[in-house]
C-alpha cells in the first residue's frame, strides 16, 4: 500500500470512528494502530509514542492554566472584574454585550481556557442579558465568540501546545497573540454597538465608581502581570508562571474574596485533574498520529499540492493553510489538529520562508475560529447548552460574527510586522533576532 493510501486510510478511520461516537482519543489511537499494520513500524513503538507525546516539560503549563481558570470560575472571584467591565462599557449601546467582550479580554489574561470563560459568563452575565431581552441565540453566539480570545491573549493553551510541539518560543507566541486577540475583541464590540441588540440604556458610571471597581478588581488583575512579567523578566518559564498564578489564586484571591470556598478546593483540584487529562490524552494520541503522518511523508505530499498553487509565496501558503485549517477546525479539536498537522506546518514554513512565530499565530488565530463553527464548535456547543438555546440557532446568530474572525485572520497574514511587533520589542530572540556581537541591542534578519 502506498504512503498516500495509508495516510488516507488513517484519516478515514479516525473520522469514521470519531463520527460514530468513539471518543477522539481512542478514535485517533485506533486509526493509527490499524494503519501501522501496513507499515514496518511495530505496535509497541506506537504505544510508546503515546507516552512520549506528553513527556514534555512545556506541556505542564496546560494543567496550571486550566487550574487557574477553574479556580477563578468555581470560586466566583471574577464577579469584581465583571463589575469593572460594567462600569467601563455598560453605558454603551448593547451594554451587556460590551461587558461580555471586555470581561472576556480581562479573563483571557488570566485563564487559557475558553470553556472556563463560557462557564463564567453563562452563569453571571447571561441571566442579566436574558432579563434585558437579548435574544438567547445572540447571547450564546457572543459568549462563545468572545471566549475564543482566551486562546489568543496570553496565557493560551493552544500557544503552549503549538510551542511545545513546533519548537517555537511559547513566550513569543503569547505576545504575538495579543494583537489578534484584541482585534477580535474590538471587532465584537463594534459589531455589538452597531448591529447587535440595543439592550437597556444605562447611565455612564461616574469616575469614582470606575475607580472603586478598578480598586476592587486589582487583586485578580495582578495575575496577567505575574504571568507575563515572570516570563519576560526571565524569572519563570511559562510552566512556572502558570504554577505561580495558581498558587496566587489559592493563597491570596480565594482567602480574601471567598474564604468559604477553601473547603471546596479538594473538589476543584480533582475536577481540574480530570479536566487537564482530557486535552492531554488527545495530545498523546495525536502525537502518535502526527508521528505517523511524518513517517509516511505526509508533509511532502501536502507540500506538493500547496506549492503547486501557491509557489513559494509566504502569504499565499498561509492563506491556503488558513483554508485547510478552517475546514479541519470544523471537524476536530484544535489541540489534536495542531499536533497532527505540525510536520506539514513546519515543512511549509520552511518552503515559504515564513517566520515560525508568524506561522504559529496565523494557525492559532484560524483554529480559535473553529471553536464557533459547526459541526464541532466546542465553545458554541457549550455556550448554547448553558444558555439553553438550540445549537443551530446559535450558529445562525454567529454567522455575522464570522466576519470579525475573517478580517482578523487576513490582518494577521498580511501585516506580520504589526503582529510581531510586541514579541520583537519584548522577546527579540523569539522572532529570530540575536544579540549584537558588540553587546548593544539585537540584530534581526529580515
Amino acid at each position: 500500500m502506498s504512503n498516500g493510501a495509508i495516510l488516507c486510510l488513517m484519516a478515514f478511520l479516525f473520522l469514521l470512528f470519531g463520527y460514530m461516537g468513539v471518543p477522539v482519543t481512542f478514535a485517533l489511537i485506533a486509526g493509527v494502530l490499524i494503519s501501522v499494520q501496513f507499515t514496518q513500524i511495530s505496535m509497541q513503538s506506537m504505544v510508546g509514542q503515546l507516552f512520549h507525546g506528553i513527556d514534555s516539560e512545556a506541556l505542564l503549563a496546560v494543567p496550571f492554566f486550566l487550574l487557574v481558570g477553574e479556580l477563578m470560575a468555581s470560586s466566583d472571584v471574577v464577579q469584581r472584574m465583571i463589575q469593572l467591565a460594567q462600569t467601563l462599557v455598560g453605558h454603551l449601546r448593547g451594554g451587556l454585550a460590551q461587558v461580555v467582550t471586555l470581561f472576556s479580554m480581562f479573563f483571557a489574561g488570566i485563564s487559557g481556557s475558553s470553556t472556563a470563560d463560557v462557564a463564567v459568563l453563562s452563569r453571571t452575565v447571561a441571566p442579566e442579558m436574558d432579563k434585558e431581552g437579548y435574544d438567547r441565540a445572540f447571547t450564546a453566539a457572543l459568549i462563545a465568540s468572545a471566549s475564543t480570545m482566551a486562546n489568543l491573549i496570553p496565557p493560551s493553551i493552544m500557544a503552549i501546545v503549538y510551542g511545545a510541539t513546533g519548537n517555537v518560543s511559547i513566550g513569543g507566541l503569547f505576545l504575538a497573540g495579543v494583537v489578534p486577540g484584541v482585534l477580535i475583541g474590538i471587532g465584537l464590540m463594534v459589531y455589538s454597538y452597531f448591529w447587535g441588540p440595543p439592550g437597556v440604556k444605562k447611565k455612564r458610571a461616574p469616575f469614582a465608581e470606575v475607580a472603586e471597581a478598578a480598586r476592587a478588581s486589582a487583586l485578580p488583575m495582578v495575575i496577567p502581570v505575574i504571568i507575563m512579567g515572570g516570563i519576560l523578566s526571565g524569572w519563570f518559564t511559562p510552566t512556572e508562571a502558570g504554577m505561580i498564578a495558581a498558587i496566587y489564586v489559592i493563597v491570596v484571591l480565594i482567602p480574601v474574596f471567598r474564604p468559604r470556598h477553601v473547603y471546596e478546593l479538594p473538589r476543584d483540584f480533582m475536577y481540574a485533574g480530570l479536566l487537564y487529562s482530557l486535552p492531554l490524552a488527545a495530545v498523546a494520541a495525536a502525537s502518535a498520529f502526527g508521528w505517523m503522518v511524518a513517517y509516511l511523508r505526509g508533509p511532502d505530499i501536502v507540500a506538493v499540492y500547496i506549492t503547486g498553487i501557491a509557489g513559494t509565496s509566504g502569504p499565499m501558503i498561509m492563506f491556503l493553510l488558513v483554508v485547510l485549517f478552517v475546514i479541519v477546525g470544523d471537524f476536530i479539536d484544535a489541540v489534536p489538529a495542531i499536533i497532527i498537522f505540525m510536520p506539514i506546518i513546519n515543512k511549509l514554513t520552511e518552503i515559504g520562508n515564513i517566520k515560525p512565530l508568524h506561522m504559529g499565530v496565523v494557525i492559532i488565530t484560524t483554529l480559535v475560529f473553529g471553536l464557533i463553527t459547526p459541526p464541532y464548535g466546542l465553545s458554541l456547543l457549550v455556550a448554547s447548552k448553558y444558555v439553553g438555546v438550540g445549537f443551530g440557532r446559535a450558529v445562525v446568530r454567529s454567522l455575522p460574527l464570522y466576519a470579525v474572525f475573517f478580517l482578523t485572520i487576513a490582518f494577521v497574514v498580511l501585516f506580520p510586522d504589526v503582529v510581531l511587533w510586541l514579541p520583537k520589542a519584548l522577546l527579540p530572540e523569539s522572532v529570530g533576532c540575536f544579540k549584537s556581537p558588540g553587546g548593544a541591542g539585537y540584530i534581526c534578519p529580515p
Binding site: F26, L67, S74, F236, F269, S277, P375, Y386
Partner: protein, 185 residues
C-alpha cells in the same frame, strides 16, 4: 446546578451503564486525579523555591513529570467511566432502538480493542524500560511508562462494564436529553 453535577465524585449520569460495585474505583480515580495535579503543583513550587535559594533539587523536575504523566492516564481512565472524553459528535444520542445499540456496541468494542493493545504493548514497553533510567535520579523509566498498561486495564474494565449494562438495560438514558442550561426554560 449543572456544573456542580459534573464535579461530583461519582457521576449520576449514565447510571444505567454502571455497576455500583465499581463506584469506589471511579471515586478513587478522581481522588488520584486530584492528588496528581496537587503533587505536581507542589513539586513545581518546590523546584522554583529550591532554585531561587541556590539549592536546587534536580529530582523534583522528574517527580513533576511523573505526576503529570500519571495524571493524564489516570484521568483518561476516569473519563472513560464518566463519559467525559472529547467527542466529535453526539449523533448516537439522537438514535434509538437497534441502530443505537449497534453503534454503541461497536464504539465500546473499538475502545475495548484499543485498551487491550494499550495493556499488552504498554506492558511490554514497561518491562523493557526497567533497563532504562532517568538522569540524575536514576529512576527506572518504568515508573513513568507503567501507567500506560494500568490505564489500559481500567479502560478495558469500564468498556466491558458499559457493554454488559448497555446490552442488558439499553444504551438510551434520561441524560440523552439532558438540560444543563443555566437559564430557565
Amino acid at each position: 446546578m449543572a456544573e456542580q453535577h459534573h464535579r461530583a465524585l461519582i457521576l449520576r449520569r449514565h447510571r444505567h451503564l454502571k455497576w455500583r460495585s465499581f463506584d469506589w474505583l471511579e471515586a478513587l480515580l478522581m481522588v488520584l486525579c486530584g492528588v496528581c495535579i496537587s503533587m505536581f503543583t507542589l513539586a513545581s513550587l518546590c523546584d522554583v523555591v529550591t532554585r531561587a535559594i541556590g539549592m536546587p533539587w534536580l529530582w523534583l523536575q522528574q517527580a513533576t513529570t511523573a505526576f503529570f504523566a500519571w495524571g493524564v492516564f489516570v484521568g483518561m481512565a476516569a473519563a472513560t467511566r464518566r463519559n467525559d472524553h472529547f467527542y466529535l459528535t453526539e449523533i448516537t444520542k439522537r438514535l434509538s432502538g437497534a441502530p443505537r445499540s449497534a453503534i454503541e456496541i461497536a464504539n465500546r468494542l473499538i475502545v475495548l480493542a484499543v485498551s487491550v493493545l494499550l495493556t499488552w504493548f504498554g506492558w511490554k514497553n514497561a518491562i523493557l524500560d526497567l533497563g532504562s533510567y532517568r538522569m540524575p535520579s536514576l529512576i527506572p523509566l518504568t515508573v513513568y511508562t507503567g501507567i500506560v498498561p494500568a490505564a489500559g486495564v481500567l479502560i478495558g474494565l469500564f468498556s466491558v462494564e458499559q457493554l454488559v449494562n448497555g446490552w442488558r438495560n439499553g444504551f438510551e438514558g434520561p441524560e440523552d436529553g439532558e438540560n444543563v442550561a443555566v437559564l430557565p426554560e
